[in-house]
Symmetry: D2
Subunit: 248 residues, 4 copies
Amino acid sequence: VENRDHALDVARHVRDAGARMLRGGAFKPRTSPYDFQGLGVRGLEYLAEAKRATGLPVVSEVMSPEQIEQAEPFVDVFQIGARNMFNYELLKEVGRTRRPVLLKRGFSATIQEFLSAAEYILLEGNLQVILCERGIRTFETHTRNTLDLSAVAALKALTPLPVIVDPSHGTGRAELIRPLSRAAIACGADGLLIEVHESPCEALSDGDQAITSAALREIVSDVHKIHLALGGPLSPALAQTGEPVSVS
Amino acid sequence: VENRDHALDVARHVRDAGARMLRGGAFKPRTSPYDFQGLGVRGLEYLAEAKRATGLPVVSEVMSPEQIEQAEPFVDVFQIGARNMFNYELLKEVGRTRRPVLLKRGFSATIQEFLSAAEYILLEGNLQVILCERGIRTFETHTRNTLDLSAVAALKALTPLPVIVDPSHGTGRAELIRPLSRAAIACGADGLLIEVHESPCEALSDGDQAITSAALREIVSDVHKIHLALGGPLSPALAQTGEPVSVS
Amino acid sequence: VENRDHALDVARHVRDAGARMLRGGAFKPRTSPYDFQGLGVRGLEYLAEAKRATGLPVVSEVMSPEQIEQAEPFVDVFQIGARNMFNYELLKEVGRTRRPVLLKRGFSATIQEFLSAAEYILLEGNLQVILCERGIRTFETHTRNTLDLSAVAALKALTPLPVIVDPSHGTGRAELIRPLSRAAIACGADGLLIEVHESPCEALSDGDQAITSAALREIVSDVHKIHLALGGPLSPALAQTGEPVSVS
Amino acid sequence: VENRDHALDVARHVRDAGARMLRGGAFKPRTSPYDFQGLGVRGLEYLAEAKRATGLPVVSEVMSPEQIEQAEPFVDVFQIGARNMFNYELLKEVGRTRRPVLLKRGFSATIQEFLSAAEYILLEGNLQVILCERGIRTFETHTRNTLDLSAVAALKALTPLPVIVDPSHGTGRAELIRPLSRAAIACGADGLLIEVHESPCEALSDGDQAITSAALREIVSDVHKIHLALGGPLSPALAQTGEPVSVS
């Protein structure tokens, strides 16, 4: 979320393109303390407004107990980012809420550690956990991360939790998002998390990996074609909340 | 290739399941010098016999100029394995033949290094190079390697060479081969390289990652469904030789 | 910290072996929520008692604002573990205290990200940050992690902050701790963080990588010999607080 | 080796600085076929001349049976580079010679695979194998590779073969070569392999990681100090041929 108009604008575009949820960052974990850190509560208000305008449920990242409290009135799904997958105290905190949690895999978390992190949430009584594969760190530099689709298939075999894929962070390259979105769905992912920006070149962060809502529309169409060809998503849980094809 | 009857048997099964090529190892690069090293020329003869019986062209790995000479009368496509992707002298040697070369990505080769290795072959005048993504080394231990499907999409954008995927070595787990095969095709791979063994538990090597020809048949069916849904493979070159869905 | 007697016992042994600080885990971040999670405040009390008995300052890990508050009366140095290196909210919290912070490198944090994490603490006004290299994740499985001593030399060139090394987690193998301790000091590390347990086989966690205080004594002797041969540690800041050769 | 005068010049400088062997590349494995590929046999002649002028034994890389034959009259030690560590046919070929072999670890070879590669040489009857750690591939980009000194200590415990370290390729940064050389010797390495160039900025390849012979002299002095402080190298075999502190 960069400003109010932008948030509303993108929300309408992604809804029209077929998205079922809206992800927007109000609190942004940035590697450098000198980078844009998000709009905070004001960003949450813009997201809530976008939700009213479009009907799309809202996902947003939280990084501390205070942020959970601040975000609770505005968001439908809490996101735990890759940097905090090993932050067990935070996992327990969101486990004590009754909101669905979108848990992203850590930069170098094994599949087993990813499942154990989910368990920290589940053990607090919150059973609505959505796992999100977002790429792991390897020696390869052509892509920002190495999207690990084997992990998606492995997770689908190991847990009944829904598993979604973030090809935007996973590849870091706009031109790879469509083919990897197709691949993710074809190997069983229950949804996609995609960064959309109408003018990627002007984005305040992650512009290289954003696509337009027109491109999103084509991906949504691909997803439907693959579902028709191979059968739909396997997670009834997620089918209820819809695929979180979304936007930051 | 473990013995004559086995080679013929598997060849017939995979042809019936829809495979268009037969890969069999006569010279096998094994990490330990004490492990089964393949049947050598005898293995090549069995492969040639399997080719006569089924009509399937034969792919087999070579690791030295001597093996190229020995294999030339028997095989249709030379495979350069992951261990030899950086063996530039060998790349030049197969570049001087006029047989297609199936070049597997090194364990930790970058996409750029993979393309440069292909260039060593192309520069000798042999333009029939098929690139094969077979997984890279990462910290993850649940899978044998991390199959890098972003590399497939990236390569399709960077080069007109056909790109295939080996989900057997890429995942090292039989239960992940079908979903990753679907994903590979969905993100643009021109073919698959799959290990088939009718009794995986009794295989002399790589049994954990082999599937039966019945399972292969289902994958071939998936491939056709995805092609119908999303459009066929993009490489006319490979369309001529067929998808090397194969067997070792 | 496993119990009171054990804590006192180890503290006396490591002091006699030449340690200058005592690290003990009261709040333990464990991958699985079902594993031993540490003794909490009771563990802190045992550590404080061990400090009174030996005069050794105490280092202990904190994972949340609550734990910072609970630990403050008992500990001299807050440790931020590898799992929380990207937990920017926690970094800011310890940055607001006036206790030294021992910041461990994340499992797959780049040198640049490690420095940026330190900056989150420094920017809050707390300038007493000690960086700790503790191994990164790679494909190698013989060692638990790959200790990155190049990072130590690089950090010494990039920042005036003291840099210490944890060869216990870094290698995960008791027999490698002495040679890697020597190497760490030889390339410029300002101190070592070593797990000591008098009966490693009976440890509740990390027994494989613990050494006895007798072995620690030999390492302390090596450190002095290397300092004599090559010149002492470069960080005056750390020279004041002593080398945190320690124990969990 | 770039030209005759340069080879002679560097050889004299490194001998005076304390080197006991001279490594020079005549056949150079370059990632791109368009890069400088070495001077070939002419380079070997320059090396032989440098040997006559300085008395230093010569190490040079070979990449094929043909190159072994061509190099045999000129070189004292065959080097197998990281790219060819998995080239088992080449390993067997050098195993059939009676020259010492300097075997470099593959970019992503495990310690176990490294030892198995050595075994391919030993099994042919050539027992003079020197293992060389030269850095592995990881996500870290500050250094060219991640020098794995744990592997050095592990290898010293697993095999009686001498183990040396190449901090030039291992770090890829001139300023890190001295501290990592110290660390390598302190954790038990039997020798060092260091790139020297009197004008690093004008080097045809790898200039970023070369140091001058004056800097080499300081490292040789460090090595002696560490040996005095901690005891000398452990490998009698290598003590006979001297530490291959060398030059390309």
